[in-house]
């Protein structure tokens, strides 16, 4: 039991995929322009990560070593296509704003990384907890980044069309640089520097 909780915590804090391992930065930087995108991306990644970890863990004793990477990629690609089609069918506007980054989950190193490094060597319950932990860790990181970018870049916070609050002064004169690609690099580097300096995360 303790081991399973450890697996869950590992992804959220100790080896957070974005903040510590610095994996999966491409979608993190590219779609973190609004909180809506962050939630959509997290849901998609979480689903693919959990399902791929379950399947990889289930077939781990039968997978020939020599073709394991192609097998993982086929499984991940299938899951991603399922997510992509489902999103296009039921959440067309979200699918439009995430665009190419949904198909690109196939090559997201968090997912292949967890399949190879963890799920292919561990039992199903552990693999599930690892995937949930990693997914939540990814979600927390991308949500913090998109929160900061949205606040500084537009001056107000709106989630799924509902305005939550306005920053007085900033909403009239927002700093669009934070919404631009460059802002993503600024925010993530300042965030990492702050977290390391304050000792919240320790560099390995």
């Amino acid at each position: 039991m303790a081991e399973i909780i450890e697996n869950l915590k590992n992804g959220i804090i100790k080896s957070n995929p974005v903040l510590i391992l610095l994996l999966g930065l491409c979608p993190t930087l590219a779609v973190s322009t609004s909180i809506d995108n962050a939630f959509g991306m997290t849901a998609a990644v979480l689903f693919v990560l959990v399902s791929s970890n379950i399947i990889v863990s289930l077939i781990r004793n039968y997978t020939p070593q020599r073709v394991r990477i192609p097998v993982f990629i086929v499984i991940i690609a299938t899951l991603v296509t399922i997510v992509d089609l489902t999103m296009q069918a039921f959440l067309p506007s979200l699918s439009k704003s995430l665009g190419i980054f949904i198909p690109l989950i196939v090559v997201n190193c968090i997912i292949l990384g967890r399949a190879e490094a963890f799920a292919s060597k561990n039992k199903v319950p552990n693999a599930i907890m690892d995937a949930v932990g990693m997914g939540i860790g990814f979600g927390i990181a991308i949500t913090i980044i998109s929160f900061l970018r949205q606040i500084f870049g537009t001056g107000n916070l709106a989630v799924f069309g509902n305005e939550i609050f306005n920053v007085p002064g900033l909403s009239e004169n927002p700093m669009p640089i934070f919404i631009l690609p460059m802002g993503a690099f600024l925010v993530i580097s300042l965030l990492l520097a702050t977290l390391r300096y304050s000792g919240v995360i320790k560099s390995g």
Binding site: T33, Y62, T63, P64, R66, V67, P70, V71, V74, I75, A77, T78, T81, I82, L85, T86, Q88, A89, F90, P92, K96, G153, T154, P174, P176, I179, L180
Partner: protein, 195 residues
């Protein structure tokens, strides 16, 4: 080749083939479930897009060969619309351009309005092409006046986003010139056939 070697070569191939077959089955199933909904979602998007231009409409038809929409209200044609793609600063800008139906009789082509369907322009600058302040400038003007004010037209460019503005203007001008001609010819043919 010895027997155990053969097995070592064949098993991975068969395993991968097996996984691919299963994945194909799953994808086929997902596709057949979602196909209909994706089609509906696309239709809804087109409807919403046309509705933005023609607030009083109840139906539309799409000409696949000539790529334009005819918009109806109570079976009467109220206007035409088509998609224009402009070469924006941050990538393609997809626009819908609507025309009043009376250009078929008159010589001049009057634009009913335009709206942006999708774009990837810079937030805070080029993104302003979606705002009414810019796009409403096109409402009810003659196609020959579609040019930036500095080029003698009637459209004020967005300050700081000249590339985005002129991309939209050029795309609207070109597509209207082209499609108006096509729709006219097509309409003449239809009426000739009827008489």
């Amino acid at each position: 080749m010895t027997k155990s070697n053969l097995k070592k070569e064949i098993v991975p191939v068969l395993f991968l083939t097996f996984i691919v077959c299963i994945s194909v089955i799953f994808l086929y199933a997902t596709n057949s479930v979602t196909e209909e909904y994706i089609e509906d979602a696309k239709n809804d998007a087109v409807n919403a897009m046309l509705n933005e231009q023609f607030t009083e409409m109840d139906d539309y038809s799409y000409d696949e060969n000539l790529d334009f929409y005819t918009v109806f209200l109570n079976d009467e044609i109220v206007g035409y619309a088509f998609i224009a793609v402009a070469n924006g600063y941050g990538g393609p800008i997809e626009l819908i351009v609507a025309l009043e139906s009376n250009f078929l009789q008159d010589d001049e082509v009057i634009i009913h309005g335009i709206s942006v369907v999708s774009h990837s322009e810079t937030p805070g600058l080029g993104e302003k092409i979606v705002e009414a302040a810019f796009s409403d400038q096109f409402n009810g003007i003659n196609v020959d006046d579609v040019a930036l004010t500095k080029d003698g037209g009637k459209i004020d460019a967005i300050s700081g986003a000249t590339i985005s503005s002129s991309a939209v203007v050029d795309a609207v001008f070109n597509v209207v010139k082209e499609k108006a001609e096509i729709i006219r010819e097509n309409f003449d043919l239809n009426t000739e056939e009827e008489t």
